[in-house]
């Protein structure tokens, strides 16, 4: 068996290297010419070092431009490099900068410039989403007892082939490459995916919701509750979407949800997440009345608000059984109710949005804009 560590490459890869010798007047050697540059320890005199005639001084040996270098390389190798001479400034740029040219430009170019100037009106879209929304709400017609899967759950031939290739690639792990001796297993590809790091190993929604479930700082209890919630979502019958309460666009068919409980949870939380909150600014409206100002929320803030509403509704539920898992049971039932559109959380969200619509006029109030 060859030795695992050969000394030579180790020496080459050694990080401690002797520093390059700096030639100073103090250690000048006769016959060795000092370069015309100052080192960091030299005297800071006014007169800059000058290169002798025929020699190259400081800042004279600049690196070439990338394309120039590529062109040279191509010339050496007998190919065609990038065209250096032919590269000009684009017409649009010239038009943008020069006023006179803009006036004398052809009509076509003028129109094009005008069209680019004004973007589409905010808040309008040139297409309708009504048909898509309808298609999402339409319930799937597969019976739960049916052993055969509905066709949407089956992979296409192309997906299957890709999956098989991935499995083959990952199950037949490649042996460690020659140069990385000393590793029993191949090194992972860097950068590591986020779920391989210990602080981000769970799904972000699961992580946040677990923390929101926590009481008295007992995280392990919250984690157990989370696991129970996901198990209940796995085993409960598939939900039926309601037409009145559309979920997020792009929601999968309802029959897919139980086998992907994380998605189930995410869909429930994100669907009832409010877009904004109402901030009451005291005394801004005059006469001691608070001015209501809608404030947009970030992604985590929206999820937090949604899950707090879900928790409020879940706590009010009546538990039917006994034991440790009843809290988780109630939360899971509430999540299912959200997906099925039965939950009271939907009304809360609607209420906030209605208030926000009414209060958007206040955004022009001088207390908000700061203008007199």
């Amino acid at each position: 068996m060859p030795p695992t560590i050969t000394p030579l490459p180790v020496l080459r890869q050694c990080t401690l290297r002797p520093r390059a010798t700096i030639l100073r007047p103090s250690n000048a050697v006769i016959g060795v010419k000092r370069p015309a540059c100052r080192s960091f320890a030299d005297d800071k005199s006014k007169d800059l070092p000058k290169a002798e005639s025929g020699e190259s001084g400081p800042n004279m040996q600049q690196q070439e431009h990338v394309s120039e270098e590529a062109a040279k390389m191509a010339k050496i190798q007998g190919g065609q490099g990038p065209d250096i001479e032919g590269q000009g400034t684009p017409v649009q740029e010239i038009l943008k900068n020069e006023k006179d040219t803009r006036q004398t430009a052809p009509k076509v170019m003028k129109e094009q410039a005008k069209q680019e100037g004004n973007a589409t009106k905010p808040g309008t879209r040139p297409f309708s989403t009504l048909a898509r929304r309808r298609a999402e709400v339409t319930p799937t017609t597969s019976s739960p007892g049916d052993a055969a899967l509905d066709s949407s759950m089956l992979p296409t031939a192309e997906q299957q082939a890709r999956h098989d290739a991935a499995v083959d690639a990952s199950s037949n792990l490649q042996p460690a490459p020659e140069e990385s001796k000393g590793h029993k297993f191949p090194l992972p590809t860097m950068p590591l995916p986020s779920n391989l790091r210990k602080d981000y190993r769970y799904d972000p929604v699961v992580n946040q919701v677990t923390n929101l479930l926590m009481q008295d700082g007992k995280k392990s209890v919250a984690q157990r509750n989370m696991a129970t919630i996901l198990t209940i979502l796995r085993t409960a019958p598939a939900p039926t979407y309601s037409e009145a309460r559309p979920l997020l666009p792009g929601a999968p068919p309802a029959s897919h949800l139980p086998l992907n409980p994380t998605l189930y949870l995410t869909l429930a939380v994100d669907s009832v997440a409010p877009l904004l909150r109402i901030r009451s600014q005291r005394g801004a409206a005059g006469g001691g009345v608070a001015l209501q100002i809608p404030v947009p929320l970030g992604l985590r803030q929206r999820r937090r608000q949604a899950f707090e509403w879900i928790l409020d509704a879940a706590v009010k539920r009546k538990s039917r059984g006994s034991g440790n898992d009843m809290f988780a049971q109630k939360v899971a039932e509430e999540l299912i109710a959200v997906i099925e559109g039965r939950s009271s959380v939907w009304e809360k969200r609607q209420g906030v949005h209605r208030l926000g619509t009414a209060a958007r006029a206040n955004l022009n109030h001088r207390a908000v804009t700061g203008r007199r």
Binding site: P144, G145, A147, L149, H163, A166, V167, S170, S171, L173, Y202, D203, V206, T210, Q223, M226, A227, L230, T231, R234, T235, A236, P237, A238, P258, L259, N260, T262, K318, R320, G321, S322, G323, D325
Partner: protein, 475 residues
């Protein structure tokens, strides 16, 4: 209750014990001879009292009032919901090509070829195991389409034991205790043993929780033996056990006839089937223990002597055996704790396990230690370590002279075989994880890298931990 005879000597009627309050009928004075046919007395007009301003001494706020528009849960309803065993998940995918354990593949060679594969339980097996209460709510049966279990090395060994007993034509008995880490599959291995024995036509008896026998939650009654110590019978537990046995072994009991002469309670004819005998015990808790004794006498008649058909071998299993290897929570007349071996039903199991009582038609006595609800029994721990060492031909650890051991347990565990369950092998882990994936519960590709990771994180393939880390994970 009115039917208590004497509160001191524990001789009380068993009729009304452990019945719910709703079952108690209103009693009528015994000395009246006149029939109570008279009409109800006319109702007096109720005097409507003025609602007083103060109602009770407690401070009443609007918050305090509870809306009770729903029916309160009945007695035991909430616990029943918690302990419910669900054996199917309609969301899980049907695993194609999942074969059942059946008579055809129940030979050591056939099962050896099926090692590291998952095998389902047929409908009959499921019904019998369910009747025996062998499925537990904590075991994750509710995640899969139908009950199935992994055939592991130890399963094949157990089948080998069963075959060895059958080959002996009734002269052989296997006595064993399963132990090992929490989640290592002791209870499920016991369940597999019950399923295999049942398929082989054995008589199966299972006590799912030994703890129920010793924590003083069920009635007990002293039974004096002539010239011997006092023992205690647990009539209501025996009644429940008889019901489980009847449901699980119905096909055997209806074919076997009573052959001996017994002082049979009730109106049973001498040649009646054993099913009728068991029914007597199921109906009346007071007769459950005598019926158990007669049933046992009948089952252990040597097949050559019995007139009521050849008797099958017996598989008697008990889970959580550590609870009967110590003092029970029951008290005797002197208010001293009763040893669990003085309770007749656990004693019966111990007699069989230790080999003091034999099974003339052959059989298997299989105990399993519980680790998730472990009763402290240091004598049992030491005995297990000793027996394991003796089995492996190592020097057994000596009994510590400075520690007080339980003599009953020491004697009972003398010469009992032990089997320590450890983690799965990598192949077995692959088998079970592929089954998870094909049930749709793992969404990743099952690669050797993933299997190694799960196997390692599960403490070297502890199957319960593998399930926790893959199927029940909060990914």
């Amino acid at each position: 209750m009115a039917s208590l005879a004497c509160p001191r000597c524990l001789r009380r009627s068993l009729q009304d014990l452990e019945t719910t309050a709703t079952a108690i009928r209103p009693q009528r004075a015994a000395f009246s001879t006149s029939p109570s046919l008279s009409a109800n007395p006319p109702k007096k007009k109720a005097v409507v009292a003025k609602p007083s301003t103060r109602q009770g001494s407690a401070l009443r706020l609007t918050k305090n009032t509870r809306a009770t528009n729903t029916r309160p849960p009945a007695v035991g309803e909430r616990k029943e919901l918690r302990k419910k065993v669900v054996l199917s998940n309609t969301n899980a995918l049907e695993v194609l090509g999942l074969n059942d354990l059946s008579k055809e593949n129940l030979s050591s060679d056939a099962l050896h070829a099926l090692e590291a594969k998952v095998m389902g339980f047929g409908d009959t097996s499921v019904d019998r195991l369910r009747a025996l209460k062998a499925f537990k709510p904590t075991q994750g049966w509710n995640l899969f389409r139908r009950p199935a279990s992994l055939v592991r090395k130890e399963t094949t060994h157990l089948l080998g034991d069963i075959e060895w007993v059958e080959a002996g034509q009734g002269s052989r008995t296997v006595r064993k205790v399963l132990y090992g880490e929490r989640g290592s599959g002791k209870s499920v291995l016991q369940l597999q043993a019950l399923a295999m024995a049942s398929l082989k036509g054995w008589f199966v008896i299972h006590i799912p929780e030994a703890m129920d026998l010793t924590i003083a939650h069920t009635s007990y009654q002293p039974v004096t033996t002539p010239g011997g110590p006092t023992r205690y019978a647990q009539a209501h537990f025996a009644c429940k056990l008889l019901r489980n046995i009847r449901d699980a072994n119905n096909h055997l009991l209806s074919n076997l006839r009573i052959s001996g002469e017994h002082d049979i309670p009730g109106q049973l004819k001498p040649g009646a089937s054993l099913l009728g005998l068991v029914d007597v015990g199921v109906k009346e808790p007071a007769r459950a223990w005598p019926v158990w004794q007669i049933l046992w006498e009948e089952l252990t008649l040597p097949s050559a002597q019995s007139k009521g058909g050849p008797r099958p071998p017996i598989m008697f299993t008990m889970d959580g055996i550590d609870h009967i290897m110590r003092l029970s929570a029951y008290l005797n007349a002197e208010a001293q704790p009763i040893h669990a071996h003085d309770l007749l039903l656990p004693r019966h199991f111990i007699e069989l396990l230790s080999g003091r009582e034999t099974l003339p038609n052959g059989g298997m006595v299989l105990g399993a230690v519980s680790e998730s609800n472990r009763a402290a029994s240091h004598t049992l721990d030491h005995a297990l370590a000793r027996n394991e060492a003796i089995q492996n031909e190592l020097t057994p650890p000596a009994w510590d002279p400075w520690v007080k051991y339980d003599k009953n347990v020491q004697d009972a565990m003398e010469g009992v075989g032990v089997q320590r369950l450890q983690g799965l092998s990598k192949e077995e882990a692959r088998g079970i994880m592929e089954y998870y994936a094909r049930s749709g519960l793992i969404r990743k590709a099952v690669t050797s890298g993933l299997i190694s990771e799960a196997w390692t994180l599960a403490g070297g393939g502890i199957i319960g931990e593998i399930e926790k880390g893959t199927v029940k994970a909060r990914v």
